[in-house]
Symmetry: C2
Subunit: 254 residues, 2 copies
């Protein structure tokens, strides 16, 4: 049995809490949060605390809070014997107190409230200061995911940056498509099968080979017509920059 | 039984050919293409021709060729009694010969060679010059898809433009994520579950609500670190422009 304390009440904390609670081999003994209101989500099931000087003893402390609070909050754990890990993609392991046993437990996924995810398929990138702690973290991660990988701080930073393109910017492309549809009274839902296929096909094909469209074909006529159609300067700038970037990728110029 | 001639040998032509051939109520009586090599794909199954003056009589002619060739090629069909339709998102219906019965048959999907798609789920946007031709086109489209919608030329142009963001630019985001991973020796495959979830969650959630990440959170620390990490000026420009656009969407400034 691995005992854990979760520090944080956001989406990552909630999803980890649910995943751990569904496993017999993992015990969540406490959840810490600043806000009593946010803690109410956990209250009925588990001990909660809003006092950092009142954290219980556990095998692993998961600091699942915003990046800029990780260093400060983890300082309150310096007297703990357990392994302290954060869940951030962009923060180095050594942001945690260097007198403690430290590690990182980074689930590479986007979490929204009220949306269930299948943890078995989520890569969990782990890092630890020594082999023994790595094995402990590996046991925790493997209990909820089939894709546990050892990733050091530099590699994790790369993944986090790449994820901004693959997830955040991709979603923003969906948003602009949505805006264009709404502004012109066309149902956005018609694009959903296309969006689905775009994501699905790169599970087999490299994105380089999967690229289609006017910029890839160097279709100047469509490029000009699309720019004329775009009423927003913001959309216009994005269309131009990304089209040129695609052209450059395939060795052509618009 | 609806008889059809397909003009074109590219991905759209091939996928339509396969979809039509699998239906009892549709007959493909000929495929036209300029290149004998490209026609060899169809040769064994069907009559083919590389001569535009030798096109057979049919109920519907599907002009599935590159946008800039549609007007020219369709001129060779002026003496035909059948309905002439093109399959392009960005070309108006009246680019077809105005003495003929004309329409548009636009499948809103991305087609790659060697990749099967499920036509039942692909929206087919149709337009015709009169009710009778619309019904004929509707019968053809409904035979292969469960999502047939009436979309006029202006609406179709909007969809085509929105599709460039939702598909072409999205795939380019995947490509940049892929480049960043390769350049730094990190396996891109780790991002596939994230990419999948990003596309899947907007089937229920609006992209506006689904947005996560540093730009949405106005996380200046991560913004600065990511810019420092990006070695390519092209990636840097794209990161900056899209982050600012996300910030603007949520009413914040970086």
């Amino acid at each position: 049995m691995i005992s854990t304390v979760i520090l944080g009440t956001g989406n990552v904390a909630k999803h980890l809490f649910e995943a751990f609670m569904s496993q017999n081999g993992i015990e969540v003994i406490q959840v810490y949060g600043r806000s009593l209101k946010a803690l109410s989500y956990f209250n009925n099931q588990i001990n909660t605390s809003s006092d950092l000087s009142n954290i219980k003893e556990a095998d692993i402390y998961l600091v699942a809070i915003s990046d800029d609070a990780i260093s400060e909050v983890s300082k309150f754990l310096v007297d703990k014997r357990g392994l302290i890990v954060h869940t951030s993609g962009s923060i180095p392991m050594n942001a945690l107190p260097n007198k403690n046993r430290c590690g990182v437990f980074y689930p590479l996924q986007t979490f929204n409230a009220h949306r269930k995810v299948n943890f078995k398929e989520i890569p969990i990138c782990i890092e630890a200061g020594n082999d023994q702690d790595y094995e402990l973290l590996n046991a925790l991660a493997s209990a909820i995911s089939d894709k546990v990988v050892q990733i050091d701080t530099d590699q994790r930073k790369v993944l986090h940056l790449a994820a901004v393109f693959a997830n955040n910017f991709t979603n923003h492309m969906y948003h602009i498509a949505h805006e264009i549809c709404i502004q012109n009274d066309v149902p956005f839902e018609l694009l959903l099968p296309l969006i689905n296929e775009t994501a699905t096909k790169i599970q087999d094909l490299s994105p380089l080979d999967a690229q289609t469209g006017p910029a890839r074909r160097n279709d100047k006529g469509t490029f000009g017509k699309h720019l004329a159609q775009l009423k927003s300067k913001k959309h216009n700038n994005i269309y131009t920059l990304l089209s040129k970037s695609i052209q450059k990728t395939y060795g052509k110029k618009l």
